[in-house]
C-alpha cells in the first residue's frame, strides 16, 4: 500500500516521457522529410555559435527589455530544473527533499530557485502585458490571429501556474517544518514563499500536508504536461534553438547557394564536347529530372524544416522587414509558420496513411504562401539578422522564387523583361554590350 504513490508517480512519469518520445520521433521524421542540407564548415565555429547565440542569448539582448526578461525566464527554466531532478527522485523513491543532506548548499539552491521563480512570475506578467495590454505591434500582425495568439498566452499562463505551484509547495512545506511535522525535516531556505505564511495561518497539519502534496503533484504533472505541450506549440524553441543555431548559417549572409543540378546542366550547355548521356548516367539514376526550387515543404532542406519548428513567432524578423514595414503582405514570420503548418499537415497525412504521404492536392506555394508575398522580398537579410535563433526565412523565399521562375516561368513581366535583356545583351537593360565603355568619354 505504501508504495502506491511511488507507483503512480512512475506511471505518470513514464507516460509523460513516452508520449514526449513519440512526439520527438515524429518531429525528427518530419524534419527528415527535407532534402539534404549543406552543413559543411568549421565545426568549432558552429559550436561557438551555439554557445553564443542559444546558450548565451546574444541576439536576444539586441532588444534590451525583451532580452532581459527573456534571460530571466530562460535562466529560471534551466536552474529550476535542478529542483525537478530532486522532485523526480523523491517521487520515485518516496523520499522527501532528497538533496537536503547538502545542508548549506541546499539552502542556497532552494533560495535561488525561489528568487528565480519570483522573477519569472514578474517577467511572465510583463510579457503578458506586452501582448495583451500594451499590444506591441509585432504580436498583432494578421498571422498572429487565432491559435498563435492563444498559444502565446497559454504558455505564459502555464509558466505562471507552475511557478505559483512551486512556491505554494515550498510555502506549505516551510509551515510544516516550523510545526515539526513528521517527514518534514528542516531543510531549505524560503526567501519568497515564507511570505505566504498568512495564507496558511491557522490551517491544521493535515490540511497543510494536503496543500503541500497537492501542489507538489500538480507541479510535476504540470511540467510533464508542458513537456508534451511543446510539440503542439511554438514553444519548441527551448529545445530546437540549440541544434538550430549549431546548423545555422556560417557563410556570409549574402551568399546564396548555387544549385548543383543547374551547374551540371549549364556545364553541358557551355561545353560542346560534353556527352550528355555520360553525365546523365552518373548523376541521375532515378531517371526523373530534379525539380528546381521549392513548391512544397519536401522540396526544402531539413535545416529549413528545422527552422520552421524552431520559430517561436516572436516577430522580430517581421518587424525588421522593409516590405512588411511598408504595408506589403510579406511577413518572414508567416513564411516560417506556413512552412511548419504545411509540414505538420504532411506529417498527419503520413500518420493517417501508414507512413506514406498520399497526395492531398495541396502545397506550400499558393495554398499557404502566396506569390505576392514571395515577390515582395528585397533579399535584404534583415529578417535573418534579426532572428535570435538563426532562422533563415530568406532561403525559403528564394527557393520558392526559383520554382516559380525555373519550373513555371511565372516571374512578374518586368522581371522577365529584365532577364531576357541579360540573356540578349548581358545587362538588365536593353543596351548594346558594345557600348559598355561609353561612360568613359561622356
Amino acid at each position: 500500500m505504501q508504495y502506491i504513490p511511488n507507483f503512480l508517480f512512475a506511471l505518470a512519469l513514464g507516460f509523460g516521457v513516452w508520449f514526449f518520445y513519440n512526439n520527438v520521433r515524429k518531429l525528427i521524421r518530419n524534419i527528415k522529410l527535407g532534402k539534404e542540407a549543406d552543413v559543411s564548415g568549421d565545426r568549432s565555429e558552429r559550436w561557438s555559435n551555439m554557445a553564443r547565440i542559444a546558450l548565451g542569448q546574444s541576439k536576444m539582448v539586441v532588444r534590451p527589455i525583451a532580452g532581459f526578461l527573456h534571460i530571466i525566464v530562460y535562466v529560471g527554466f534551466i536552474i529550476i530544473n535542478i529542483e525537478v531532478l530532486e522532485i523526480i527522485l523523491d517521487g520515485l523513491l518516496g523520499t522527501h527533499r532528497l538533496f537536503a543532506f547538502l545542508g548549506g548548499t541546499y539552502d542556497f539552491l532552494i533560495a535561488s530557485f525561489e528568487i528565480l521563480a519570483f522573477l519569472v512570475i514578474v517577467s511572465v506578467v510583463i510579457f503578458w502585458l506586452r501582448r495583451n495590454v500594451i499590444r506591441l505591434q509585432r504580436f498583432l500582425k494578421p498571422e498572429m490571429k487565432g491559435w498563435p495568439k492563444q498559444d502565446g498566452n497559454l504558455i505564459l499562463y502555464i509558466e505562471l501556474v507552475l511557478m505559483f505551484l512551486f512556491l505554494t509547495m515550498n510555502g506549505a512545506d516551510y509551515q510544516l517544518q516550523q510545526m515539526g511535522a513528521e517527514h518534514y525535516a528542516q531543510a531549505g531556505s524560503f526567501p519568497i514563499s515564507q511570505f505566504l505564511a498568512p495564507v496558511f495561518q491557522g490551517l491544521s497539519e493535515s490540511t497543510l500536508i494536503i496543500i503541500e502534496r497537492g501542489a507538489w503533484w500538480l507541479h510535476i504533472l504540470g511540467i510533464l504536461f508542458f513537456l508534451n505541450y511543446l510539440y503542439y506549440s511554438k514553444h519548441l524553441h527551448i529545445l530546437l534553438a540549440f541544434p538550430n543555431t549549431f546548423y545555422g548559417r556560417v557563410k556570409p549572409q549574402g551568399q546564396f547557394n548555387n544549385l548543383a543540378s543547374v551547374t551540371n546542366e549549364v556545364k553541358l550547355m557551355m561545353d560542346p564536347n560534353a556527352d550528355p548521356f555520360a553525365a546523365d548516367a552518373g548523376t541521375e539514376d532515378a531517371g526523373e529530372p530534379e525539380k528546381f526550387g521549392a513548391s512544397d515543404v519536401t522540396d526544402l532542406n531539413w535545416v529549413q524544416l528545422m527552422n520552421a519548428y524552431t520559430c517561436t513567432e516572436c516577430g522580430r524578423c517581421t518587424s525588421e522587414c522593409p516590405a512588411n514595414q511598408t504595408g506589403k503582405k510579406l511577413s518572414p514570420r508567416k513564411i516560417m509558420m506556413d512552412t511548419r503548418d504545411r509540414l505538420e499537415e504532411v506529417g498527419k497525412n503520413m500518420d493517417a496513411n501508414k507512413g506514406t504521404f498520399v497526395p492531398d492536392g495541396k502545397q506550400l506555394l499558393d495554398d499557404y504562401i502566396t506569390r505576392e508575398e514571395l515577390w515582395a522580398c528585397t533579399t535584404c537579410n534583415a529578417c535573418v539578422q534579426a532572428c535570435p535563433v538563426s532562422i533563415d526565412p530568406l532561403s525559403i523565399i528564394v527557393e520558392m522564387r526559383r520554382y516559380l521562375v525555373m519550373e513555371q516561368s511565372a516571374a512578374p513581366t518586368e522581371l522577365n523583361n529584365m532577364m531576357s535583356n541579360i540573356e540578349n545583351n548581358g545587362a538588365p537593360w536593353p543596351y548594346n554590350q558594345m557600348d559598355r565603355l561609353n561612360w568613359v568619354n561622356e
Binding site: K251, P252, Q253, G254, Q255, F256, N258, L259, V262, T263, V266, M270, F292, G293, P322, A323, Q325, T326, G327, K328, K329, L330, E372, W375, A376, C377, T378, T379, C380, N381, A382, V384, Q385, V398, R401, R402, Y403, V405, A411, P412, E414, L415, N417, M418, M419, I422, G426, A427, P428, W429, Q433, M434, D435, R436, L437, N438, W439, V440, N441, E442
Partner: protein, 261 residues
C-alpha cells in the same frame, strides 16, 4: 564632364603582355545608368590620381547574373557567372574592385564554387587601402563640417559585414558624419534589392525608399552618402518624394572623395 579619364581594357593589357594591379568591375549600372556612370567616372578619377594601374573589361564584361539569381533564375545566373569566370580566369585576374555591392557579393561569395576565386573588394575598401598606403590624399575641404549620413547597402553591410571602410574614408573628407537611427546591422533596405529595382513594388501603404529616406532626413543631413548605384537611385527618388531635392543631395562615397581631391 570634360576631364579626360585614363581607362585601359584588359585586352590592351594583354596586348602589352602586362597585368594590371586591379580589375575595376564596372557592372551594368555603372556602365549604362546615367547616374551610376558618374560614380564610375568619380572612382576612375581617384584611381587616376593615385596612379593605379587598373583595367576594365569593357565590352567583354557582362552582367554578373546577381539580379537573375535573386529573382530565382539560377540558370541565367550560372550561365552569366560561368561566362564571366571563363573570361576572368583567361586573363588570370587576381584582384577585383567594384562600386556595386551586388557584384561585390556575388563575385566574392558565389563565383568561387563555380570555379572563379578572386580577391574582391568594394571600392570603399580599396579607397581606404589607397589612402592608408599614402597613394591617395584628400586635400579639398568641399565637405568640411557638412552633415553627411551614410546609408549602408544591404549587400555590403549585413551580407558581408563591411561597415567601417565607407565610414572610414568618408571621415577623410572632414565631413561631419551623422548616423541614422537604424544603421549598420539594423539599417533598413533602400527597397531595390532582390530584383525589386526592376519591377513595381507589391501593394502596400508606402514605398520602401521613401521610408528609408525618412530615416536619413531625420539626421538633418546636407548629403546622403551611399556605396551602391541602386541605393543611390532609390534614395534620390526618396528625396524627391519628400520634396527635399533642393537641400539634400545623394552622392556616392567615391564622388565625395573625388570632389575632395
Amino acid at each position: 564632364m570634360s576631364e579626360q579619364l585614363k581607362v585601359k581594357t584588359m585586352e590592351a593589357f594583354l596586348a602589352e603582355g602586362k597585368q594590371p594591379e586591379i580589375l575595376f568591375w564596372v557592372g551594368s549600372a555603372g556602365s549604362y545608368d546615367d547616374r551610376a556612370k558618374k560614380i564610375s567616372r568619380a572612382f576612375v578619377r581617384l584611381l587616376n590620381k593615385a596612379e593605379v594601374d587598373f583595367a576594365v573589361l569593357g565590352p567583354e564584361e557582362s552582367s554578373t547574373g546577381d539580379v537573375a539569381k535573386r529573382a530565382g533564375n539560377e540558370f541565367l545566373f550560372q550561365m552569366q557567372a560561368m561566362m564571366n569566370i571563363e573570361l576572368l580566369n583567361g586573363y588570370e585576374i587576381k584582384r577585383i574592385v567594384t562600386c556595386d555591392p551586388h557584384s561585390f557579393n556575388t563575385i566574392k561569395n558565389e563565383y568561387p564554387s563555380l570555379g572563379g576565386t578572386y580577391e574582391v573588394l568594394h571600392h570603399t575598401q580599396y579607397l581606404k587601402e589607397l589612402i592608408d598606403a599614402g597613394r591617395l590624399s584628400l586635400t579639398g575641404n568641399e565637405y568640411k563640417g557638412k552633415r553627411v549620413t551614410f546609408h549602408d547597402p544591404c549587400y555590403l553591410g549585413r551580407a558581408n559585414n563591411v561597415y567601417e571602410a565607407p565610414r572610414n574614408v568618408l571621415a577623410k573628407t572632414n565631413a561631419n558624419l551623422v548616423e541614422m537611427k537604424r544603421n549598420k546591422q539594423t539599417a533598413l533596405c533602400c527597397g531595390a534589392g532582390g530584383a525589386q529595382m526592376f519591377k513595381e513594388p507589391e501593394k502596400g501603404d508606402m514605398d520602401i525608399n521613401v521610408l528609408r529616406t525618412k530615416d536619413a532626413l531625420e539626421t538633418n543631413p546636407d548629403i546622403i552618402a551611399t556605396g551602391c548605384p541602386y541605393c543611390n537611385t532609390m534614395m534620390t527618388d526618396g528625396i524627391k518624394a519628400h520634396e527635399k531635392e533642393d537641400s539634400v543631395t545623394v552622392l556616392d562615397v567615391a564622388e565625395l572623395l573625388a570632389n575632395s581631391l
